[in-house]
Symmetry: C2
DNA sequence: GTAATAACATACCGATTAGTATGTTTGCGG
DNA sequence: CCGCAAACATACTAATCGGTATGTTATTAC
C-alpha cells in the first residue's frame, strides 16, 4: 500500500468513526482532519468535495462492512431462518464496531441523507438492497428445500426483516440496549411463523 | 389567542415543517425566520436558544400529533389487532402531514439527536414511550377478552411493533412508497400470529 | 393620558463552515 | 542526481452559524 493510498484510507476511516457518532452534517472536514496529522491540502487532493468523500465512505467502507456482517453470513446457509436469526444476533450483540447508542452507519445515513443528497441516497440504496437481496435469497432457498412455506412472498418477508433491522437500530439509540434482546426474541417468533 | 402566543406558534410550526424535511442540525434559525415576517428579536424573546425551541417543538407539536395519530386510535379499542393495523395503515397511507420521503418527525429526531442532545433525547423518549404504552395496553386488553394468546409478552410485542413503525418510516425514505404496502401486508400476518 | 413593560426589530459579533489559491516537500523515473 | 509530477501543507476567503446588545413599537395597568 503506497503512502497516498494509506493517507486516503486514514481520512475515510476517521470520517467513518466521526460520522457514525455525530452524523454526516454535523461532522466537519476540519474535525475529521483534527486528530490526524493531515490538513486540508491532503483532503482536497484526494476528494473533490465533502460529498465525494461521503460517497467513497459508503462504497469503500460501509458497503464491504455490511457485506461481511449481513450478507456473507446468509450466503449458502442450509437453514435460512436460523441463519437469519444468528446473523442478526451476532450483528446486534457481538459485533465490536457497532455501539447501541450510535446505531448503524448505513441506517443512520439513510435516515439523514435520503431526502437531502441524491448521490449519497443512491449509494446507500445499493448497500441496503444487497442486504434485502441476501435475506430474500436465503428465504427462497428455504422454500426450495421445503423448510419455509412455499406460498410466502420471499421479497416481502425480506423487506419486513430489513424494516426490523432498521427499526431496532433506531430504537436502540432511543431506548438503549435492553430492547435489542426484546427484538431478538420477537424476531425468533416471527421467523418460526415462516416455516 | 394573544398575538405573542400566535407569534410563538408560527415559529414552532415553521420550524416543524423545515426540521421535518431537513433535520434539526441542518435547519438554521435564520432559515426558520426567513419566510415568516419575524426576526431574531422575536425568536430569542420566545426561546432562550435553539435547543429550548426544539424542546418546545417536541413537547407542544410533535407529542400531541403522535397522541392524536398513534395513541388515540388504540384507546379503548374492542379489537386490538385490527385497531393496530388500521391505525398503522391510516398513519402510513392517509395522514396528510406525513410524506414518504421525509419519514416521521419523531423517528427522524430520535435518530439524529438521541446520542447528541440529552434534553431532546429525553423528550423524544417520552413521546415514543407513549406510543409503545398505547400498543401494549391494547394488546393486554385483547388478552383480557381472550382475543390474544395469554402467554404472549405484551410489552415485547409492543416493542416489536414500534420497531416496525420506526423501521418502515426509515426505509420508506430510502426505498419509496412501495415498501409501505409490503410492510402493511407483513404486519397483518404478524398480528394474526398473536391471536 | 402616561408610565412601564411586553413584544418585537436592527445591527452586530466571534466562531465555524466548505472550499480555494498558492506554496512546499516527497518520491520516482531516466 | 536531477527534474518533474505527485502528495501534501499553509494561508486565506466568503458565507453561514448561534447568540447578543441595543434600539423601537405595541399593550396594558393605573
Amino acid at each position: 500500500m503506497t503512502k497516498a493510498v494509506s493517507t486516503r484510507l486514514t481520512i475515510l476511516q476517521k470520517a467513518l468513526t466521526l460520522i457514525y457518532r455525530q452524523g454526516y452534517g454535523m461532522t466537519s472536514i476540519d474535525t475529521i482532519l483534527a486528530t490526524t496529522q493531515l490538513t486540508k491540502g491532503a483532503f482536497f487532493y484526494h476528494f473533490r468535495n465533502k460529498e465525494e468523500m461521503g460517497l467513497a465512505l459508503i462504497q469503500e467502507l460501509i458497503k464491504p462492512a455490511m457485506e461481511e456482517a449481513f450478507v456473507k453470513p446468509l450466503a449458502k446457509s442450509s437453514q435460512p431462518t436460523q441463519a437469519i436469526y444468528t446473523m442478526m444476533k451476532q450483528l446486534l450483540l457481538k459485533d465490536p464496531f457497532f455501539e447501541v447508542q450510535y446505531g448503524c452507519p448505513a441506517v443512520n445515513l439513510a435516515s439523514e441523507l435520503s431526502a437531502a443528497n441524491e448521490p449519497l441516497h443512491q449509494a446507500l440504496l445499493e448497500v441496503m438492497r444487497q442486504c434485502q437481496q441476501a435475506v430474500q435469497s436465503s428465504i427462497e432457498r428455504g422454500q426450495a428445500t421445503g423448510q419455509i412455506r412455499p406460498e410466502l412472498q420471499a421479497d416481502q418477508a425480506a423487506d419486513f426483516i430489513l424494516v426490523g433491522y432498521s427499526g431496532i437500530r433506531n430504537l436502540g439509540k432511543l431506548f438503549g440496549r435492553s430492547c435489542y434482546q426484546t427484538y431478538l426474541r420477537e424476531l425468533k417468533r416471527y421467523l418460526q411463523t415462516l416455516t
